[in-house]
């Protein structure tokens, strides 16, 4: 941090923004008396995240449910109670992890193994289908730096980065000047394929409107055209055969193409088979030119959880330790399946908010079981919790490693001190782990 005389505050530079998977690492934050006063370079969502640490009524004391009412307690008591719940449970679910550091993930996985639980990340309701497809057919991918320096054709399919990853286009894909793309966006072409004309589609060179839930058929038809096969229909998914053939020619004749895809592919109709077909299209195109594909990961460290879990267990999400060794099969061991079949009997939720985002049936089961919640905010999940331990914001009040959507690890810096007495996710989880193994 340097002293800025004009504003009489310290300036933290090259700060990593802990909001989305783009993980911008050029943020500047002004700090005065341990308070954030200004944030530069970040998008509106990122800026709001930095200022959310100043939120009024932010919880600072652990709470524990006694006779149906949440009462304040000490960290020691809350940690003890959490360890007790997890030790007693015969099928605990450990869920969340996408908005915390890899260091915290490591402790979480250690707890899951120790208590023989099921550990799952938010991937399971987000890019989980992408993972299934990648396991089936592989994934020819690259880093965002390669896209910046080489890509001359960028496709956004079923995603809207103008709203969800606002700086993705300006930092990596369309606007930056790259080593082989000296004129920036003039050297590149942007194609958007979506079911409606989004704000990203409005700035695209070409927008292709696909019918709802027909992405799979369109992908198959493009593949047939790329592979020189006949398409046995005049219109596929609302796109004419001629247009598909023209698009296939364009894809084959670019120098370096890349497909970015989002929930529009992973969570509609064919789900993981959409991604499967999109990856196979990328593979087919590599017979003609250089092509890559990349998921638009949402939360800033959802990729990191997959990386840490894979390195420790061999599987990227939905890992079941109940038999003593890691078992993996989304559909059986994923959070919603374990909840909806009524198997789980206790839950530890870290850095996510399933009560706000899970289907009603899953939430009904969550409400019935002892729930431990670790996170910086009051959320619908914290309202249902039996033990709530508030934590600091990783990347703002605590440092920690996070993985960008192209699996490049970056160290998210600490900018200000957290509220007095509030521990980081990492410290809380480490203490719960030590409490569980104590006396064993």
């Amino acid at each position: 941090m340097q002293e800025s005389l004009s504003k009489r505050c310290t300036v933290a530079s090259d700060v990593v923004c802990p909001f989305c998977g783009t993980l911008c690492d050029d943020i500047e934050v002004d700090v005065k008396d341990n308070k954030i006063t200004d944030v530069r370079h970040a998008c509106r969502i990122g800026t709001a995240k930095f200022f959310s640490v100043l939120e009024e009524g932010r919880p600072t004391k652990p709470l524990i449910r006694k006779n149906g009412v949440m009462v304040e307690t000490t960290v020691d008591t809350a940690v003890k109670k959490a360890a007790e719940i997890l030790k007693k449970s015969i099928r605990p679910l450990l869920y969340g992890w996408s908005s915390t550091s890899c260091e915290a993930h490591a402790h979480g996985i250690a707890i899951a193994e120790e208590v023989g639980g099921v550990i799952d990340g938010t991937t399971s309701v987000c890019h989980g289908p992408s993972v299934l497809a990648i396991q089936d057919v592989g994934c020819p991918s690259c880093t965002l730096a390669e896209v910046k320096n080489r890509a001359d054709l960028v496709i956004y399919w079923g995603c809207n980065p103008m709203h969800a990853h606002p700086r993705h286009l300006s930092r990596y894909t369309i606007y930056p000047r790259g080593y082989f793309r000296e004129r920036g966006h003039q050297d590149r072409e942007l194609i958007v394929i979506d079911v409606r004309k989004t704000d990203t589609a409005k700035i695209a060179n070409k927008f292709i409107k696909v019918d709802y839930g027909r992405d799979y058929e369109l992908l198959g038809a493009i593949r047939a055209a790329v592979n020189g096969n006949e398409i046995n229909a005049e219109v596929v998914g609302g796109v004419t055969k001629e247009e598909i053939q023209k698009l296939a020619e364009k894809l084959k004749n670019c120098q370096f193409g890349v497909i970015f895809f989002g929930m529009g592919l992973t969570m509609t109709s064919a789900k993981h088979r959409n991604i499967d077909n999109a990856i196979c299209l990328t593979k087919d195109l590599n017979r003609h030119t250089k092509f890559s594909i990349m998921p638009m990961r949402g939360h800033y460290n959802v990729t990191g959880f997959g990386e840490v879990l894979t390195w420790q267990t061999g599987y990227p999400y939905a890992v079941d330790f109940s038999t003593g060794y890691p078992r993996y099969n989304p559909g059986e061991t994923s959070a919603n399946d374990v909840l909806q079949r009524g198997e789980a009997d206790a839950a530890l939720i870290v850095a996510s908010d399933p009560v706000a985002h899970f289907p009603r049936k899953s939430v009904e089961y969550l409400a019935k079981m002892p729930l431990i919640y670790i996170g910086p905010h009051h959320t619908p999940t914290s309202l249902l919790a039996d033990v709530f331990i508030p934590s600091t914001f990783v990347g703002i009040e605590t440092g920690g490693t996070a993985y960008r959507m192209d699996t490049v690890p970056l160290y998210a810096k600490k900018v200000v001190d957290g509220p007095k007495g509030v521990l980081s996710d990492e410290e809380i989880l480490e203490r719960i782990y030590k409490e569980i193994v104590r006396g064993k």
Partner: protein, 261 residues
């Protein structure tokens, strides 16, 4: 053939992992020894006898052993995993992974089964009198070789992705089938006597799928000709069928789709 009868007691909500229920492990064991076989209830290591009354007698050889389960075991997973010989009869509905990695013998389920039944099956016979869930006779996540041999017969309906990455064997469904039947199929035969909504044979490169009911055929399949009473993999079919080749999204695909007309 000698029979072992398992009568379920009260089964816990957490579900059981009972891969030990197979004739191969029961053969040559006394009732007491069978009752002390390992079963997982959540993260607890329990004994088979904690959840089932065990009666009857086992043969010395697995192929002479029949296991009869009297009642519903929808919360029990992996019954008959890796069965090589002998017989299992489930007089009720069963949970996930029935007959997973089966290599021989016969498993009959009088009720329904949950998803992943007959996953990566290599041989034997799996008969389901009720309905089957998703991923019937499919590959394990990330495996590009699914069912390799054996026969699966479903008298009710089956779910999505039946026969995923199939490389051999036969699946026959008397009712309807979910989407993506035979996705990524390379060899083998799937017969759907009811209807399947769409995307049958998606990304298939070989093998055959027969659909007797309604279905939407993918635009990447090409019509070939009409065949009368075709015989596929030793299975004689009656009637006239429109044949399609595909899936031509793949290069050099040789899969065949037969649609009853």
């Amino acid at each position: 053939m000698k029979e072992i009868i398992l009568t379920p007691k009260e089964l816990p909500d957490v579900g059981l992992i009972a891969e030990t229920i197979t004739p191969d492990l029961f053969a040559g064991k006394s009732i007491g020894k069978i009752a002390s076989l390992l079963i997982f209830a959540g993260n607890q290591r329990k004994k088979l006898g904690d959840f089932f009354e065990v009666a009857g007698k086992s043969a010395d050889d697995a192929s002479d052993t029949r296991i009869v389960i009297k009642g519903d075991i929808t919360k029990v997973k992996m019954v008959g995993k890796g069965t090589k010989a002998g017989e299992i009869v489930i007089e009720g509905s069963a949970g996930m992974y029935v007959g997973e990695e089966m290599r021989g013998g016969k498993i009959t389920v009088l009720g329904n089964v949950d998803s992943f039944a007959g996953q990566t099956m290599r041989g034997g016979e799996l008969v389901i009198k009720g309905n089957a869930g998703d991923y019937l006779g499919a590959a394990y996540r990330g495996d590009w070789r699914g069912m390799r041999g054996g026969v699966i017969l479903v008298e009710g309906n089956a779910g999505a992705e039946t026969g995923l990455f199939m490389v051999g064997g036969k699946i026959k469904i008397k009712g309807n089938c979910g989407t993506f039947a035979g996705v990524h199929m390379k060899k083998g035969l799937i017969i759907i006597e009811g209807q399947t909504p769409e995307r049958a044979g998606a990304e298939m490169t070989g093998g055959s799928i027969v659909v007797m009911g309604d279905t939407d055929i993918l635009p990447t399949f090409a019509p070939v000709n009409e065949e009368k009473n075709p015989e596929i993999d030793g299975e004689k079919l009656k009637g006239t069928f429109q044949t399609y080749s595909g899936d031509h999204a793949e290069r050099g695909a040789k899969g065949m789709l037969y649609k009853f007309v």
